[in-house]
């Protein structure tokens, strides 16, 4: 199956490991992965701030970049959720509406793709550690992906999974909200950090680097010893290794 990686700008620029894990994971599951170099940002920072005209410029670039892709798969519920909104944003636009629909229809968040399209619930990974999972808001409530990440985590060998209290609560990231309403955002992330601590987990796992960067940044500031990892890292950790698999050499920035 041919899959185009939509790395998302945050992982492209800051968290390159997420892109690497995504590629390796998809390849291990038999996908032929390509990386359309013209991709940039889904446009969400502008769109959510009310700059629709500016956002559309980014969105058109994304439509162009993925025009020939069969599937577009990204390691973020939020960014993929944005792609899925394109038809609504370009509604009535004679030039772009059809293309927006085409992109939305072939775009998937990576765990959603693995479970719903590939039909795989056990990716054959092994991960030793006590893990809790933060289901990010846009992943669950905008994109509507609630089960897939947890289904995949449950099948990871050796994992000890603990439920995060009030897990559905926002971490306070919200893109520009974290800057524009920093004071409120700070209270929200403190609360989330507290909830993570209550689980006693060694790892906090999530499917959106924006949220993880926020929670991780707060926990680091508080001196907490919890490692924050994107779900693709857990799913890409396995004993056999594999061709092109170089996990051992990586060090996470968070």
């Amino acid at each position: 199956m041919k899959v185009s990686l939509f790395i998302t700008c945050i992982s492209d620029i800051v968290f390159s490991e997420v892109g690497k894990d995504s590629v390796e994971l998809l390849e291990r599951l038999g996908c032929e992965v390509d990386f359309p170099e013209g991709q940039t940002c889904c446009g969400q920072p502008a769109y959510n701030s009310g700059y629709v005209q500016e956002a559309k410029k980014a969105m058109k670039q994304m439509i162009r970049a993925f025009k020939d892709s069969e599937y577009v798969v990204g390691p973020s519920g939020s960014c993929v959720g944005m792609l899925r909104e394109y038809p609504h944003i370009f509604k009535g636009d004679p030039e772009w509406e059809k293309e927006a629909i085409a992109l939305a229809e072939k775009s998937y968040e990576i765990t959603q793709f693995i479970v719903d399209v590939l039909g795989v619930t056990d990716v054959g990974s092994t991960f030793k550690g006590k893990v809790t999972y933060h289901p990010s808001c846009h992943m669950t409530r905008v994109l509507g992906v609630k089960e897939a990440p947890q289904t995949l985590l449950e099948h990871v060998e050796g994992i000890e999974y603990v439920e995060l209290p009030v897990k559905e609560d926002c971490c306070g990231f919200g893109g520009t909200f974290a800057i524009k309403n920093a004071v409120i955002s700070q209270e929200m992330v403190k609360e989330k950090s507290q909830h993570v601590s209550e689980t006693g987990a060694e790892y906090l796992v999530g499917g959106d680097m924006g949220c993880l960067m926020n929670i991780g940044g707060r926990m680091r500031r508080e001196g907490k010893d919890v490692e924050v990892v994107h779900i693709t890292k857990i799913l890409n950790t396995h004993e056999q290794g594999g061709e092109g698999h170089e996990y051992q050499n990586r060090r996470y920035s968070l």
Binding site: I7, C9, S11, D12, I13, V14, F15, S16, G19, K20, V23, F35, E37, G38, T40, C41, P45, A46, Y47, N48, S49, G50, Y51, V52, Q53, E54, A55, K57, A58, Q61, C137, R141, V142, D169, C170, G172, G174, G175, F177, A178, I179, N181, A182, V183, I184, S185, Q186, E187, M188, E191, M213, N214, G216, G217, R218, R220, R221, G244, S253, L254
Partner: protein
Amino acid sequence: MSIKIGDIPYNDRIDQGIDNEFMRQAVSSAQGRFRTGRLTQAEVLGDWEDWRQIGEEIRTHTLENIDYYLYQLSEQVEKRGVHVFFAETAEEANEYVENVIKKKKAKKVVKTKSMVTEEIGLNHALENAGATVVESDLGEWILQLDEDPPSHIVTPALHKNRQQIRDTFTEKRGYDQTDSPEELAAFARQQLREEFLSADVGITGCNFAIADSGAVTLVTNEGNAEMVTALPDTQITVMGMERIVPTWEDMEVLVSLLTRAAVGQKLTSYITAITGTRLDEEVDGPEEYHLVIVDNGRSKILGTEFQSALHCIRCAACINVCPVYRHVGGHAYNSIYPGPIGAVLTPLLDGYDDHKELPYASSLCAACTEACPVKIPLHELLIRHREIIVEEEKRSPAMERIAMKGFAQWASHPAAYKLSAKMARTALKPWTDEEFVENGPGPLKGWTDVRDFPAPGKQTFRTWWHNHQKGAKK
């Protein structure tokens, strides 16, 4: 009072909310209970998504035909002895009510909790007309004695603790018992019972008016609305024009959604439909009844992409799940309508001048949209507000506009984008320590004041990808 409750600037209100430890604790615990109640009841009922669906369909149909249903309502209740006044503005509504009070030479008015009367500042008008106004909902009565605005649309005194309430009762009403909620409530019962019996006029809001047979439905727990509608000889109901449903059957569905979403009850203790004045030989209920139907800015929402905001049934489910509300409390919104629905509705009813920050007081987490029993896409409406503030009102900050123009250039030109990805690590170098930025420049400052920002990784994805591809081709 009007929609706006004060003149404190936005940032100060946020700080005051965050500094109010008791309030935050109270709100947090209330949210927990409300949330559990709503989720439990939704599960017990079953098919919750179907219920939300029919709720949305009823509201959509009603608002699309609101002129028809208001016409029908007015015809029906008139037949049943009710005077109907259509008020386009708050002033018109207040003036009409004032005239009724004056004509009846009323000395005392008892009221049920009603958001629309708060919105139009009716109490002030009543006092102008020379009447004493008594709020009879326990929470509203507490706030009235303390001259404090509501902070929640269902439990208005949520921000107050029992000691504060005891002190208010002691100071204003000579209360001399403990701060146990039971004793406080028993005192209110006794004090308010006298008010009900001596009131000349009862004033209520309206949860759902029923158009086809003509009725005003009130949904309460304390029994105060029963007293207000059963005892005084004159009754006035003030309703926001959108509080209407076509039939009893539609009312029933929406009440089932309201009581579950609001307080996690299957039904509240009292749901009363009043269809007109009392009939011959009846004792309870009004002999004179006025229905005031209020626009006050609602009509300009019709026909716009905000129309679904008028679908709101005032259950506060969105408020009860909102993390922003939890941390800043109701007063921070500076509106009698707080929380997500308040952030949507307030600028629509009262303009952007005093409320332009509200649409941004949300992380767009969509918990509100998910909780809404009539499926109002609240977080999307907040984005739409932002769009208007930026594109039509041109009120967004200059620096932000420049940044967003830059964003558009960056994100629509892959070459520029790629270059920045390559350079990011170097650019942040001066602030980076052990792979983290702890004291960032410019817009990063708000971030790094309370949390660290990661430095971009040493090897970019794109470099890795090229090597990876080469490896694969080998």
